[in-house]
Symmetry: C2
Subunit: 220 residues, 2 copies
């Protein structure tokens, strides 16, 4: 069944779905929707995702799946191996909590539509916008680092020795911070897990800077 991901090289939510597809071994085509050019607002994309945001995943002839966490849960339920959530309810809640610190508390504050609102409505300049992005990016990393330190998982990843939804979200978040050249030295546990993840092809090949359209000079 043909699988098409509508995304953008720099979109961190698309990055998450790309990692999940790779981990599951699902072949897919990616269609670039250039958020910087406003292509997500085109009539043709509206027919794919009426919310006019990326990512959207079209599997076969069915309507697009949207919202990165919902898409990843769908992939995990329809392609159970390798699992992206642990088995025990408390461990699952821990993984989901870490994922949601990224996907609910931090990322929604820094997406293009919000940055555009800060510019267009509040007339904020680039330094103010960057301060805003850095603030929410750091708050999430602080929260995650605290949780990881308290839990002291014996494994290489956020929960145990195999990557889960938490690692997918953490990688997207830390690599986003690196794209903005933020100082992330205060979060050694989180960064160590991310660097471990990036040794895995499923993560490395999904990286924003390795997608068509990305700038040639790497941020790190």
């Amino acid at each position: 069944m043909a699988t098409t991901l509508f995304g953008f090289w720099r979109s961190l939510a698309t990055f998450r779905v790309r990692i999940a597809l790779n981990l599951k071994g699902i072949a897919f085509d990616e269609v670039a929707i250039d958020l910087l050019k406003g292509e997500q607002l085109s009539e043709s994309y509206r027919t794919v995702n009426p919310q006019m945001v990326v990512p959207a995943l079209v599997v076969g002839d069915s309507p697009a799946l949207t919202q990165s966490l919902a898409i990843i849960d769908y992939l995990d339920e329809t392609h159970p191996q390798p699992p992206l959530l642990p088995v025990a309810p408390r461990d699952r809640a821990y993984v989901r909590m870490l994922a949601q610190i990224v996907a609910c508390d931090a990322h929604p504050l820094i997406v293009p539509r919000v940055r555009n609102y800060l510019t267009d409505e509040f007339k904020l300049d680039e330094p103010a916008r960057l301060k805003w992005i850095r603030h929410w990016s750091s708050k999430a990393l602080e929260a995650i680092e605290t949780q990881l330190a308290a839990r002291a998982s014996a494994g290489k990843f956020c929960q145990g020795n195999a990557p889960t939804l938490a690692d997918i979200c953490l990688v997207s978040h830390v690599e986003g911070a690196r794209l903005f050249k933020f100082d992330i030295t205060a979060y050694p546990i989180a960064v160590g897990i991310v660097d471990e993840c990036l040794k895995i092809d499923a993560f490395a090949l999904a990286h924003p800077l390795r997608q068509p359209g990305a700038p040639p000079n790497p941020a790190h």
Copy 2:
């Protein structure tokens, strides 16, 4: 096993967890953390939730569960009846997508810590803050209304004839809009579902205006 919800009457994420606990028939105590007084930043609350946000759910002697969607998934996995997600993966993805439009795209933009940042860092006044809140509240309602109209579920709720996670999130969102006295007449399908939900005690008794500390004059 003692179950304690740390929340706040006006917190829409706490409202969601309260509904889920009620739907599952789980008895719980609620401890009020007054976000307007900054009680979430106290040292005593930090020991409950190092991220210093509500809600947090403590079950027995275990560490607090945090993030409303992660908590609700945990409750659904440990107390399967009545289910808060449908069975088919596509239906589950649809329910999660609607829930995440609320919990990821809209709500994080209007929580107290963000409103405080707009005031303290950007020196925005109350009309600007309200415009910001109305904007993101409306964007989410537009997206949900479009999805509900396209899907045309035959049931009374977002998906079928029993409330799911989507209804829990939608109720929190629409009731939040009503607390702000926003005009929601453009979203008749969504509002109809919310009013159907509020006929159910599990939803109605969880309402912000029915919690201790809420102002006596109802917003609608």
